[in-house]
């Protein structure tokens, strides 16, 4: 089994970088087993092709713009995922959707894709998350861990 947790976002634009911050927190606090890789994707696209090939599950963490209250976490699965890529909820969807479409064509697309997101409060220039989003960061980490465990992953907190 191979699972990638992919944090997306631009860490120079405050909450825009929340996906990267979640992956950093996971990498710092949790011991990933061999079958799980935490990837800080930033705003990259085609450079990630190799890492995203033939996955059993791809868990994307990103800031997601919908019509929810600011700093509301959200988990999108199944039929909601294509909607995520079709509408402009995240500024990175275009880059990632190109990668996924390429993987689709070469027969290497992930078996399953889950999106874990949060409604941004601020996209202003700066390297810190807004206080409201920063306060929900542990929750996003917990949601990600829940998705991993639901797929049979045993993951331990670092000592």
């Amino acid at each position: 089994m191979r699972i990638v947790v992919l944090g997306l976002g631009n860490i120079l634009l405050s909450d825009e970088g929340v996906g990267v911050r979640v992956v950093e927190a996971l990498a710092a606090g949790w011991q990933a087993p061999d079958e799980v890789e935490f990837v800080d994707g930033g705003t990259c696209a085609m450079e990630m092709l190799e890492q995203l090939e033939d996955l059993d599950a791809l868990i994307v963490v990103d800031c997601v713009r919908g019509n929810r209250a600011p700093a509301t976490p959200v988990v999108l699965k199944g039929a909601e995922v294509p909607v995520f890529f079709r509408t402009k909820l995240s500024p990175h969807q275009a880059g990632l959707s190109d990668v996924l479409a390429s993987l689709e064509f070469t027969g290497c697309a992930p078996q399953e894709t889950v999106i874990i997101g949060i409604e941004p409060v601020s996209l202003a220039l700066g390297m810190e998350l807004s206080p409201a989003v920063a306060a929900r960061l542990p929750e996003l980490v917990a949601l990600t861990l829940t998705e991993l465990r639901a797929r049979g992953v045993t993951i331990e907190e670092r000592a």
Binding site: L12, A45, E50, D98, E104, F105, L125
Partner: protein
């Protein structure tokens, strides 16, 4: 009556670049290029430790992460006049070259080929004929009839399900598409093979850079890769042998597929040597340093005035005064204000980043990009500039690949295609392929230099920097895939006081400067044909030939509620 065509976003990500053209009688008469997002990284850097700047500037862009890391450490090293170990140069050089080869392959096949290749037409091809054609051009092993048939069947399956996947949003059947079904199929087959081979370049960057997609190994003073011939978790001979295999596979693809395809496609679009000439002031910088100080380079760079190779003036070292003194940036048509007035052009050491957004004003301010000039003139930077400067400098491998490419195009087109044809939209693609072949040779050479030096028992990769009290200024330049990149830093007692990045796409996509002279995109679009204003494929061809870095892709995205092309009568 003329029509105004606005394409926004022109790339697939984030809508950073907008292009407006006024079309009259099927031809572009006026053009504006506008950066649609403020890049304020300079302000984030002020007050920080100069040793951290590279990791932060690496985040400016998702396409060119490594290039900003390199330019940034070079700027700080230049400010300190810090020499780095030659092993560190070799490792950085291999990362830069692998990144460049990756970037060029992906740009041609995955981001811009679809401007020229009609994927739907490939369904009508005779795979046998297409394969014979490919075999007549190259000995590449992936040109068999069975491979061509397999890809065409796969494509049919995709189209049959009503999904074009990666090929969505192309201008299929557009009157400007000219390739035969067989050449279209050939391009689609190589598109998929390029997807496979580009991974080898990513792997080299990941191994040498310790992490992917954001490298972790560079440091002010060298690189953080421990070198050893055998021990674990460092760059060992075993890992270097894997790198060598990937280099060879890239080399094979670039020389036997990429160069050949560009010539074959270019020969069908010979009329595109007439469009996209624009600015013929060419600036590039030397790169791939061979010593620790940056006084000797494998690939030359310099300035060519008005397209005349004999006017070549070299840029020689990391301390080159001719380069350092020549760069300045204006904001008359940009959404910034300078304290001393907007008729001024400021040197990057004195650069200011103070926003003043006004809305899009045709004759006033209309872009978040500043307008850089070299001794007062707008420049074209990028592969064409790089290749012309290397030719002017008498660089032998460049001369070899450029001559062979022009001969191949000439024989396929049945007419002599000379160097002058390179100053064009299609010429920029040819230059990128020629430059890529040169980079593959150099990648091999850098690998050999590193291994030979390790063989001599030299494993040094880092010289620790020291920050003296007082002020130091430095520039770090890099001949990045899209052209001249420079970072300019002013350090005050170990903290950053000013930082400016002058990036390749700022040179090329610049708005008009303080003298109202257009930037390279704007100039290149004048006279460009537009058959159907609501499907401005020809405009995209010229803009994409530069490989816009404001985002990473091509073809207009399907934003259902977000029309990307608006056409208005003016």
């Amino acid at each position: 009556m003329s029509k105004r065509v606005t394409i926004d976003p022109i790339t697939r990500i984030e809508g950073h670049l907008r292009v407006d053209v006024e079309v009259d009688g099927g031809t572009v008469r006026k053009a504006w290029a506008s950066g649609q997002m403020w890049r304020g990284v300079e302000n984030i850097l002020i007050g920080r430790d100069p040793r951290d700047a590279w990791a932060i500037t690496q985040r400016i862009c998702g396409v060119c992460t490594t290039v900003h890391a390199m330019a940034s450490v070079r700027a700080v090293e230049n400010a300190l006049q810090l020499e780095i170990p030659v092993n560190a140069q070799y490792i950085r050089n291999m990362i830069m070259l692998s990144h460049a080869v990756h970037d060029h392959i992906v740009h041609f096949y995955h981001l811009s080929a679809l401007d020229w290749v009609d994927v739907v037409s490939a369904l009508k091809a005779d795979p046998g004929k297409a394969s014979s054609l490919a075999q007549s051009l190259s000995t590449w092993e992936g040109n068999s009839k069975s491979e061509f048939t397999k890809v065409q069947d796969k494509l049919k399956g995709f189209v049959g399900t009503g999904q074009l996947g990666i090929f969505t949003n192309g201008y299929w059947g557009h009157p400007a598409m000219k390739l035969s079904p067989e050449v279209n199929l050939l391009a689609v087959v190589h598109y998929l093979q390029a997807l496979e081979v580009q991974r080898h370049a990513s792997k080299i960057v990941a191994i040498l850079g310790s992490k992917s997609p954001h490298i972790q190994n560079v440091a002010v003073g060298g690189v953080a890769n421990p070198l050893s011939l055998d021990s674990q978790s460092v760059l060992t001979l075993e890992r270097l042998m894997a790198v060598k295999e990937w280099i060879d596979s890239l080399d094979d693809f670039v020389k036997n597929v990429y160069l050949v395809d560009v010539a074959a496609i270019g020969a069908f679009y010979a009329d595109w040597t007439k469009y996209g000439r624009g600015i013929t002031e060419y600036l590039s910088v030397p790169d791939i340093p061979l010593d620790g100080k940056g006084t000797e380079f494998a690939l030359p760079g310099g300035y060519i005035e008005n397209g005349k190779l004999e006017s070549y003036k070299p840029i020689k070292t990391f301390n080159d005064k001719y380069f350092i003194d020549g760069v300045s940036e204006a904001v008359k048509h940009s959404w910034y204000d300078y304290k001393e007035g907007n008729d001024k052009s400021l040197h990057p050491y004195k650069g200011e980043t103070r926003p003043n957004y006004t809305d899009f004003q045709d004759d006033g301010k209309y872009s978040w990009l500043k307008s850089p000039t070299f001794y007062g003139k707008p420049m074209q930077v990028g592969p064409l500039s790089r290749v012309l400067n290397m030719l002017a400098a008498g660089h032998e491998p460049t001369t070899k690949y450029a001559t062979a490419e022009l001969e191949l195009v000439s024989s396929l087109a049945g007419a002599k295609v000379g160097l002058d044809a390179m100053h064009s939209t299609i010429g920029r693609h040819a230059a990128r392929a020629i430059g890529c072949a040169v980079q593959c040779d150099e990648l091999n050479r850098q690998w050999n230099l590193l291994v030979a030096n390790m063989g001599k028992g030299d494993f040094k990769t880092f010289n620790a920097p020291a920050f003296p009290k007082g002020e130091q200024m430095g520039v770090g330049f890099h001949e990045a895939p899209r052209g001249v990149l420079s970072h300019w830093v002013v350090i005050d007692s170990g903290k950053i006081r000013n930082y400016q990045c002058v990036v390749p796409t700022t040179w090329n996509a610049a708005p008009r400067n303080e003298k109202d002279q257009p930037g390279a995109y704007e100039a290149c679009l004048l006279g460009n044909p537009v058959a159907q204003p609501d499907k401005p494929l020809e405009v995209l061809r010229t803009v994409h030939s530069f490989d816009p870095c404001l985002a990473c892709a091509v073809h207009v995205v399907d934003q259902r509620n977000n029309p990307v092309v608006t056409v208005t009568a003016v």
